[in-house]
């Protein structure tokens, strides 16, 4: 297998077309893809949902056969099956491919056997990998009981047992917290130093920037391929950071988004970042414009925004202009009221002897966007489920809109909206049927119901999907539908549990624009998220770890807390990692 030299690419696709039959139609998952991956480099694969990323990965792993064209891996055409070539390929599917009822060690043993490693070599390699992934102490734990981050590291270890020449990672960081994400990258960097070629798909822009090369895929076609500057250079002179002394970032962003010449405006730690169509758009008094280096996110928006002009996931056309007016009627325009809408005091939840949440207290005021951040298993979802009345608290008090949801009447429950972690829609019901059902379930009737459904279809741009089954929707549209269903009854309080996990970047941006618009109308929003850039959108945050609240305050305050000599201006992500690691150190010392 010494075919690979520096010159020849370990993965080449020539005019690859892959179609799937879906009912009577043939869907083109890949439509004429030509590409070469550079040996020894890390290549990032990006693109919206349904762009064909997973199909491309599977083709490279020899799991699918191209409808036409050829796939060459490590110098061999995969046309007649991969055969022994798979010893040199490591592949981690999206769902990690772990046996959940086998322990960490048993999973490693199985994959060592499947890679036909002799026991001695296997033991040595497993030892190395356990060290690399820091899974050593968990050898006997069942894979199903591991946190998302640990599962992902184990999945990676299983793919690395016979040090592969080509490593394929399909969305390895979906649903994984920043700490686990950083650990994964440490592993990838180590592999890069050893000369392994890595192809990974991701929906994080910062991850894309860490790759040596970026491959941007859209609708089965390659939009652009190359190192980062290749993407960002054309945008030089079109990116700006805008600050305003009086306005809060959210309002500033809204003002900028509507301005002529502005393609995109988004909130960052320092202020509002603007991408213009050309040059600097006109500045308003009080605004302070500063040209900045373009980032990959700007390129992504610029490229895909153009491709999808007029499409459903159009980033530059936001829905907020005609958007949601619901809560206005319910509570009037509140702005930043001081009324506490959610009060949590000394909340505690035990599952058996395991304390999932303890000493948790916070208050959410009306019209706030309130974020719950934390690593996987920090207790965010448990807290959420208690707030919505889905789980009883073990002790402590919690009030949502003045009542405990656990004992609330139907009417009180009608005041909250809830979007669960996995979009909990009826998969084989159409979009319209889902809307109609939830409208009735929330007790809307007659003309009121028809109005609510019609509004939702229009505001969430769902009309085109009316007859499509919820299961067949792209993830971004699913999430839009879930939000639409939760908002039908115009609740003054909205709970969102990781609503953007796994959703592509454009859909995420669009989602946040809606959330901002809702907050502007006085809806109180509680949200959990893994995306640290999203944390910047929140008015206030709590940071949770191991069931406890570590810090709370505005994003700026949290960043402040994590400031050190080496890192005077930490990003939210750096702040998060630092605070949590500090806390875990304290706990470890205590025990």
């Amino acid at each position: 297998m010494a075919v690979t030299t520096e010159a020849s690419s370990p993965l080449q696709l020539r005019a690859v077309v892959k179609t799937f039959a879906r009912g009577k139609d043939a869907v083109h998952a890949l439509d004429g893809v030509d590409l070469e991956i550079t040996a020894g480099k890390v290549t990032g694969l990006l693109g919206p949902d349904g762009a064909g990323k997973t199909t491309l990965m599977r083709l490279a792993a020899g799991l699918l056969r191209p409808s036409s064209g050829s796939v060459t891996v490590l110098g061999r055409d995969l046309g007649r099956g991969a055969g022994s070539l798979q010893q040199a390929i490591g592949y981690m599917p999206q769902r990690f491919g772990l046996y959940e009822d086998l322990s960490v060690q048993e999973n490693l043993d199985l994959y060592s056997d499947l890679q036909d490693l002799d026991p001695k070599a296997a033991r040595q390699r497993q030892q190395e990998l356990l060290e690399l992934t820091a899974l050593g102490p968990f050898g006997r734990r069942r894979a199903g009981d591991l946190s998302g981050g640990m599962k992902q590291k184990l999945g990676l270890a299983c793919a690395l047992l016979r040090a592969p020449q080509l490593l394929l990672l399909d969305e390895p960081t979906v649903g994984v917290d920043p700490i686990a994400r950083r650990e994964l990258w440490q592993i990838v960097d180590a592999l890069r130093r050893q000369g392994t070629t890595v192809l990974m798909s991701t929906s994080y822009f910062d991850e894309a920037e860490r790759c040596d090369e970026i491959l941007l895929l859209n609708a089965g076609k390659i939009l652009q391929q190359g190192p980062l500057p290749h993407f960002t250079a054309p945008l030089r002179g079109r990116c700006f950071l805008v600050r305003h002394r009086g306005l809060r970032r959210r309002l500033l962003r809204e003002a900028l988004q509507g301005r002529a010449g502005v393609l995109d405006a988004r909130i960052t730690a320092a202020g509002v970042r603007v991408l213009s169509g050309q040059g600097q758009p006109s500045a308003q008094p009080g605004e302070e414009w500063q040209a900045v280096e373009p980032a990959f996110e700007d390129a992504f928006v610029a490229l895909l925004g153009r491709v999808q002009e007029g499409g459903a996931t159009n980033a530059s056309k936001t829905p907020e202009q005609g958007a949601v007016k619901p809560a206005e009627k319910a509570i009037g325009r509140a702005g930043d009221g001081d009324t506490a809408v959610v009060e949590v005091h000394d909340l505690r939840k035990c599952f058996g002897s395991f304390e999932a949440v303890r000493q948790c207290s916070f208050t959410v005021r009306q019209g706030e966007i309130f974020g719950l951040l934390g690593a996987n298993g920090a207790g965010k979802t448990t807290t959420f489920r208690m707030l919505c009345g889905l789980l009883p608290a073990s002790s402590g008090s919690l009030k949502v809109a003045g009542v405990d949801m656990r004992r609330a009447t139907s009417a009180a429950r009608g005041r909250i909206g809830y979007v669960a972690q996995k979009f909990a829609l009826y998969g084989n019901l159409s979009v319209d049927q889902n809307l109609a059902f939830f409208a009735a379930a929330y007790g809307l009737r007659g003309g009121h119901r028809r109005m609510a459904i019609a509004n939702a279809r229009e505001e969430f741009q769902l009309a085109a999907y009316g007859a499509v089954n919820a299961d067949d929707l792209p993830l971004g549209i699913k999430q839009r539908l879930a939000l639409a269903c939760a908002l039908l009854h115009e609740p003054p309080i909205l709970f969102l549990d990781e609503p953007t996990s796994g959703v592509d970047p454009l859909a995420r941006r669009e989602f946040w624009q809606r959330i901002n618009a809702l907050a502007a109308q006085g809806v109180t929003i509680l949200i959990t998220t893994h995306f640290m850039d999203e944390a910047e959108y929140c008015d206030r945050l709590v940071l949770m770890s191991l069931g406890e609240i570590l810090a709370q305050g505005s994003p700026a305050q949290l960043r402040q807390q994590a400031r050190t000599a080496e890192q005077p201006e930490p990003t939210m992500e750096e702040a998060f990692i630092r605070l949590i690691e500090e806390h875990e150190r304290v706990i470890r010392r205590a025990s």
Partner: protein, 371 residues
């Protein structure tokens, strides 16, 4: 074929079986449960049938007949004063039949006019009705015999059946139900369980990860086949042990022939299970298909309960496609009759061919690809 990869797969499968309660339930709980249910709960031998007896005018003649009914181990006679009352009792399902001796019965009997003994059975359960009828004929003939003996005149019945029942002289239905049930149990383990566990690998995405390793398709298949083959044989041995020691069913044939033919049938069942899971990659659908194409036929079309010869011609032809049919025949023969080679060989041959067919198709259909 690589022995280390195969060993790894088999070890994995056993760990999973040990940790999955539903596998244990299907492989060990179900057999015991079904055997107890059929061994104790089901019997086709009518015993102590409640019978209405109406004697319009009791006499010495009628009482001998009624005594015959009362002494019969098959009846529990109840006396009713009138045929109307007896009829109501029959309608209310308090009795399964009526024996009615009319007022002139004794008079006509003594005059040699050969009166009728009126018998009405509830025909709703036709099978039961026939059995009751048969028992009644027995009582009647006994009664005739005794009368003839008492009178010293030989009974004049031209032709009488002298029956000799081979293999199961007591006609215990348990003796054929319990062996037949082994076919149903092996179908559950071989086809249903296997179809479910392979579908689960597809559902959970582990199949995709397996296929990305250098493992060969034949190894994946064998890695499923061998563990569930051993499970199935375990279930079979458990069932045979219960049948012989708990339910006292005789095992007249050779144990080794039983073992060998069971192994053949198990291969067929496993082949079907694997084939089903290669068509249906989700547990719910795989389970449904397995129940319809393997479990139900094993129950109904195998001759386990219902006689194949009596089915309509079209269905009789279909039964030839049902593997359980051959195995049930083998089981009933090996348990009750012994090693009857023509039966053993022909049925084993049929099972062998079916095993080759299903396993062959499975191997051909299984590609190491997702599409």
């Amino acid at each position: 074929m690589n022995s280390r990869r195969l060993r790894g797969l088999i070890r994995k499968e056993f760990i999973q079986i040990r940790r999955d309660p539903s596998a244990i339930a299907i492989a060990f709980f179900m057999p015991v449960f079904l055997l107890f249910l059929f061994g104790y709960g089901v019997s086709l031998d009518a015993r102590r049938v409640p019978l209405a007896v109406v004697v319009d005018q009791p006499t010495a003649q009628s009482s001998t007949l009624v005594a015959g009914l009362e002494h019969s181990p098959y009846f529990r006679p109840r006396h009713y004063a009138s045929i109307q009352e007896a009829r109501t009792a029959l309608l209310r399902r308090q009795v399964d039949g009526i024996v009615w001796l009319r007022a002139d019965f004794s008079r006509r009997l003594l005059r040699g006019q050969s009166p009728d003994i009126g018998v009405f059975v509830n025909g709703v359960d036709a099978n039961n009705a026939r059995i009751v009828e048969g028992y009644l004929q027995g009582v009647w003939q006994n009664w005739l015999q005794q009368r003839a003996l008492a009178a010293g005149t030989p009974l004049l019945v031209p032709v009488d059946a002298k029956d000799r029942v081979w293999f199961n002289p007591a006609l215990r239905s348990r003796d054929y139900l319990v062996p037949g049930l082994i076919a149903v149990i092996m179908t559950l383990i071989g086809a249903l369980l296997t179809a479910l566990v392979v579908a689960r690998e597809w559902e959970r995405g582990t199949m995709e990860a397996l296929m990305a390793t250098p493992v060969q398709m034949a190894e994946i298949l064998l890695g499923k086949l061998i563990p569930y083959f051993l499970m199935g044989m375990g279930g079979m041995l458990l069932s045979v042990a219960l049948a012989v020691w708990l339910f006292a069913v005789p095992l007249r044939g050779s144990f080794w022939v039983l073992l060998l033919s069971s192994a053949l049938f198990l291969l067929v069942a496993l082949g079907m299970g694997l084939l089903i899971s290669s068509v249906a990659r989700n547990q719910f659908v795989a389970g449904q298909i397995a129940i319809i194409v393997t479990f139900l036929p094993a129950f109904i079309l195998s001759g386990f309960i219902f006689d194949i010869q009596s089915m309509p011609a079209a269905i009789r032809i279909i039964t030839h496609l049902i593997a359980a049919r051959y195995y049930v025949s083998l089981l009933q023969t090996l348990f009750l009759a012994g090693d009857i080679w023509p039966i053993v060989l022909w049925n084993s041959l049929a099972l062998g061919l079916m095993a080759l067919f299903f396993l062959g198709i499975t191997l051909r259909r299984s590609h190491k690809r997702l599409d």
